[in-house]
């Protein structure tokens, strides 16, 4: 275990930023991941960034290639893959798990090379959640917020940031900053971990979620459940839940007319939108009920069916915080999981 005094962190960030692009939670009104600079208002105390850090690996929008059209001819130029090392600092356990869930989509055969290049060049410094909130429910998804995954794991306790490298990438980053870190005993971190786990056990959503009822064997039964008829009613189809979700994977491919050329780009899309599945001959998901159902069936049944039973939710609670209609996955799990009709 290593440590650095909290008031020395700006110097630590400056050293990291010399070797790689550094992103961390920065307060600009709200708190979100942004590039570090000396005068940035770094905020490692706010528990949840508004958006998850999935942007670093699956950007909200990215160009795939540029097409120049001349008469009947087309010239294509593929966008180069990411080749700049970067560090994302302060990622919470739920969001690290979110990236692992995206890995199973984007790194499975056939591999998405754009995503793979970013994963290869990115180092994740995760951070334990000293003060978990009432909207957190990571425990049912087997995430330990007191000891998250990541290349380096950090704990903020007792006026210090404690530092432990977990992977080869993490060890490399540690070497770069080693002169700034000093050895530390484990006891402060051990005590914080115990405290975090106790706090999480006491949170309302961390016990009693009937997740075990969501199984591929019950796919049709859950799909046809009568609860969907009432659950979706207040959904505004705004798509906020999908954009703030660390595990939502869906994308669209579109064209941007750049004047002399066309940029073909991909961008996040939302299964909550009516044109998501719209075709010339009709739409298989005609009402918001089908779209709403798709999002939760994907996270709780379809994704697990393809990925050894692992759910595509990490309990970060962003949808609980942000849905303007107070809909969220906890309501869906409780409604479909508990009711005897299912």
């Amino acid at each position: 275990m290593l440590k650095i005094a909290k008031n020395n962190l700006p110097a630590l960030f400056a050293v990291i930023a010399k070797s790689a692009d550094l992103y961390l939670p920065i307060r600009k009104g709200t708190v979100n991941y942004a590039p570090w600079s000396e005068d940035a208002d770094v905020d490692l105390d706010t528990l949840k960034t508004v958006k998850s850090p999935k942007d670093f690996f699956l950007p909200q929008s990215e160009t795939l290639y540029t097409a120049a059209l001349a008469g009947k001819k087309i010239q294509l130029e593929a966008e180069p893959f990411a080749d700049t090392p970067f560090v994302v600092f302060g990622v919470k356990g739920c969001d690290v798990k979110g990236i692992e869930i995206l890995d199973k989509v984007y790194l499975s055969d056939p591999v998405d090379k754009f995503y793979e290049a970013r994963r290869k060049h990115g180092t994740i410094v995760s951070m334990a959640c000293a003060e978990p909130q009432a909207t957190c429910f990571c425990k049912p998804f087997s995430i330990d917020a007191a000891n998250p995954a990541g290349d380096v794991v950090a704990w903020m306790a007792d006026g210090n940031l404690y530092w432990e490298a977990k992977t080869e990438k993490g060890k490399k980053l540690t070497e770069i900053v080693s002169s700034m870190l000093e050895s530390a005993a484990d006891d402060i971190v051990t005590a914080q971990q115990k405290d975090i786990r106790q706090k999480i056990d006491a949170l309302p959503y961390n016990s009693g979620l009937p997740l075990d009822r969501f199984k591929a064997e019950r796919l049709i039964e859950l799909f046809d459940a009568p609860q969907w008829d009432s659950l979706y009613q207040t959904c505004l189809a705004c798509g906020t839940c999908t954009f703030i979700c660390p595990t939502c994977q869906c994308y669209d491919i579109k064209d941007f007319d750049a004047g002399e050329c066309v940029k073909r780009y991909r961008c996040w899309d939302s299964c909550m939108y009516s044109d998501f599945t719209l075709m010339a001959h009709g739409n298989p998901r005609k009402t918001q009920k089908e779209r709403f159902r798709q999002r939760f069936m994907h996270k709780l049944v379809y994704y697990p069916d393809k990925n050894d039973g692992e759910y595509s939710c990490v309990g970060c609670g962003r949808c609980v915080n942000k849905c303007p209609a107070s809909l969220n996955i906890v309501k869906v799990i409780k409604s479909l999981g508990v009711n005897a009709d299912v």
Binding site: L64, Y65, A67, L69, K72, K73, I74, L76, A78, F81, V105, Y106, P110, D112, K113, F114, A216, L219, I220, F223, D224, Q249, C250, Y251, D252, I253, D255, D257, V262, R264, R266, D269, C271, F276, T277, L278, M279, A280, H281, P284, R285, E290, Q294, M297, H298, V301, Y302, D305, K306
Partner: protein, 277 residues
């Protein structure tokens, strides 16, 4: 093997031939920029065609893998991209990527079997690849019955090829039908969905069905009434697609991505999926 840096990056394709099938269907031959077939495929597989600035969409490949000089796509004019494609000329470039999805089991399940191929409208395009492949390897398969229907006689595609080539094949019957009476048509009138039953076609066959979703559902129901088992019937499905490789998340039916786990499904597999196609 992908010829471009990533599967989402297409290669250049050239339209080398355009054949008008009906008032709203044209068949396009696409080669690579080098004049050769862009890639190999198996019957039932699809490819993404695109015009940058207009759009990109998935189309079934209707030519047989045995056809070496390009890939054929029969495309119905029904949206932004297909409108644009229909206005294009020979020599124009498009982009193409693929092949995507699985294929009809032409080399595993179908050899030695009697085949019943049922198609509605432009649905003859995907199974057309099977028909042409079977005729190019005629002695590997048993009898072939093709039951093909469209709204009117003017909506039947490949008519010349059907009359001159398909009907001339040994041990092969072609049955055409149109939905409503029409002057100049002395063939069968009625929906293709129940025509195999009217024809009293025996159940010692493997059936391949393709058409609009409602046609597939009604045809399956009729085949079941005739005594076909679901394990004897294959179909191919279509949903909106963007990536073609099971990642963009929009063409799923339950846990299955039509672009990757399909588009060809055996009908007992479809039974296990939610009714959302």
């Amino acid at each position: 093997m992908c010829k471009t840096p990533d599967l989402l990056i297409p290669q250049i394709g050239v339209i080398t031939d355009i054949r008008t099938e009906t008032s709203d269907v044209k068949t396009f031959k696409i080669t690579g920029a080098d004049g050769k077939k862009p890639f190999d495929h198996m019957p039932g597989q699809c490819a993404m065609l695109s015009v940058p600035g207009v759009g990109e969409a998935m189309f079934s490949i209707t030519s047989s893998p045995t056809n070496d000089d390009g890939l054929l796509f029969s495309i119905k004019q029904c949206g932004t991209l297909t409108d644009y494609l229909h206005a294009m000329e020979v020599g124009s470039e498009v982009t193409i990527r693929g092949p995507y999805g699985n294929a009809f089991p032409v080399d595993t399940v179908l050899p030695g079997q009697n085949l019943l191929i049922i198609a509605g409208g432009i649905g003859l395009a995907p199974v057309g690849s099977v028909v042409r492949y079977v005729f190019d390897n005629r002695d590997k398969y048993g009898s072939v019955d093709i039951v093909y229907g469209a709204r009117s006689k003017d909506d039947l595609v490949y008519l010349k090829e059907i009359e001159e080539i398909w009907r001339a094949q040994p041990n092969t019957n072609v049955h055409l039908t149109i939905d409503r009476e029409q002057s100049g048509w002395d063939g069968h009138v009625g929906f293709v969905t129940t025509y195999p039953k009217e024809l009293n076609i025996s159940t010692d066959k493997t059936a391949l069905v393709c058409g609009p979703p409602i046609m597939i559902k009604l045809t399956l129901a009729s085949l079941m009434e005739m005594g076909f088992k679901k394990e004897q019937v294959f179909t191919t499905l279509e949903l909106r697609m963007k990536c073609g490789i099971g990642k963009c998340g929009r063409c799923n039916i339950g846990s299955k991505y039509v672009c990757k786990d399909g588009p060809v499904f055996r009908c007992d597999e479809i039974d296990e999926l939610p009714d959302e196609y």
